[in-house]
Symmetry: C2
Subunit: 279 residues, 2 copies
């Protein structure tokens, strides 16, 4: 567990307890206020799942969040190999703390390097100004009524200057979008596994539609479509339907070669803004 060089690898390392049971330490480095980011929790589960199958790639991962996890504490991850086929494996996992279940995950693993099927791509990566013309993570310095987001220190992000308008009074655009360039702050290159975290690495797009505080995820599904090439990723997230406080957020992550490498969707709840008067 101690040879990893990069933050991501240290923070998603799991100890193998045998019988597909694993132990992890939940870092506070991916938290929004006191709450670990949902993509970070999923990355830990994927780290454990990867040790139970010989197939290299998570192709579809679905997480249902059961109760709020606590950072700076350990968590157990129990993996069940539902089926280990030649081309695909189905895995199930639960993450728990002190006997309380935190999340339940299903995954289909496969080999993104195999196969000779057809390719038709109708879309293209989001159009972005060069990274140096975008807004860096300092743009995310917290307004006084927001939860502190420690996760922003894990990524080098360069937001499209037309997004993040919600940080300024009257600057909300109403388009429900956020996006830009993203890579790990410490230079780690992306891989198929870490895309589940990168797909949840930006502030909620819903902040462009309505004010809010914590936006807890109920369900989060990520499709890994290709192994990413090294270098900057381009990510774009969009919320089009906020209904009675519930919202979907759809995301796309494209790699430096212009390949769509991940698609994400989550169902989340927009909680009211954190009060500035304490409590």
């Amino acid at each position: 567990m101690t040879t990893a060089r990069y933050e991501y690898d240290v923070d998603t390392a799991v100890e193998d307890l045998g019988d597909n049971r694993f132990l992890a330490q939940l870092s506070s480095g991916y938290s929004i206020g006191p709450y670990p980011n949902g993509g970070y929790l999923l990355a830990i589960v994927v780290s454990a799942m990867g040790k139970t199958t010989s197939l290299p790639d998570p192709m579809a991962v679905s997480a249902h969040y059961v109760s709020a996890s606590k950072h700076r504490q350990s968590a157990g991850i129990d993996v069940e190999v539902v089926r280990a086929g030649r081309s695909y494996a189905t895995l199930a996992a639960r993450l728990h703390q002190d006997g309380t279940e935190r999340m339940r995950v299903l995954a289909t693993y496969g080999d993104l390097g195999a196969g000779d099927g057809e390719t038709v791509e109708l879309a293209s990566p989001p159009e972005l100004p060069p990274p140096e013309a975008c807004l860096g993570r300092d743009a995310l310095l917290q307004p006084p009524n927001a939860l502190d987001a420690e996760i922003r220190n894990r990524f080098d992000v360069r937001f499209h200057p037309d997004t993040l308008g919600w940080r300024r009074p009257g600057g909300r655009t109403g388009r429900g979008e956020v996006g830009g360039w993203v890579r790990f702050a410490d230079g780690r290159e992306p891989d198929a596994q870490s895309l589940v975290l990168i797909a949840d690495s930006m502030p909620p797009a819903v902040f462009d539609l309505a004010p809010g505080g914590w936006v807890p995820t109920l369900e989060f599904t990520v499709y890994i479509r290709a192994r990413p090439s090294p270098g900057w990723l381009r990510a774009w997230f969009r919320t089009r339907h906020l209904r009675n406080g519930l919202l979907e957020e759809d995301g796309e992550v494209w790699d430096s070669a212009g390949v769509l490498v991940a698609q994400s969707r989550q169902l989340a709840r927009l909680n009211r803004p954190v009060s500035t008067s304490g409590g």
Copy 2:
């Protein structure tokens, strides 16, 4: 199990064996060739899950397909109540036949009638000609090299005339879309539960991009966003990224009141067209 008046209710009925274990009979009425439709299998699981929670609505349902189910045979459904909270419940289920697991499902249940959160809707229902100006299910009479799709007889569908071009040589548009009006053929009104089937009730949108035979689903997630009003639904499905034979299909279902009632996404594999020379 025998009082249901409508096909859907008969075909998704489950017998309660106690201890959250259920038994169902897989109808052949929702099959594509010999394979039961993935949304139909999910509807059966939702039927069983609904009997294990007092919360009325499936809000997010994620299914991973483990092995091909067999129709005209019984299936067992075992439900686990992961957490039964006041506002949300998390449920897990497995569907199995003769000791072989067919699918694994996670669901978050809640009450779509509760809450007083904010609503911002950026989208609108798909624009469709009136049903009588659209293409009915006869338009789906099978080309000689396609699998017979018994499921088409369960629905009254009126496809947008600009879709389904793949049925004619040279008629493929390359837009990767299919959509139109849809309702149950026997007059049953839609509800939150049956939306998981309706969200998988049209031919694959990928047929508009490339020829194919069976398109087995690997993963299927449906968000139910509102309980549908009675009457025609409008559904639209889109595939934008076919990569190495794998594709996503995103769907939206809108009700007669113009409310988005379901969002679906699936990861599926485009198999080669069925040979016309037999075998």
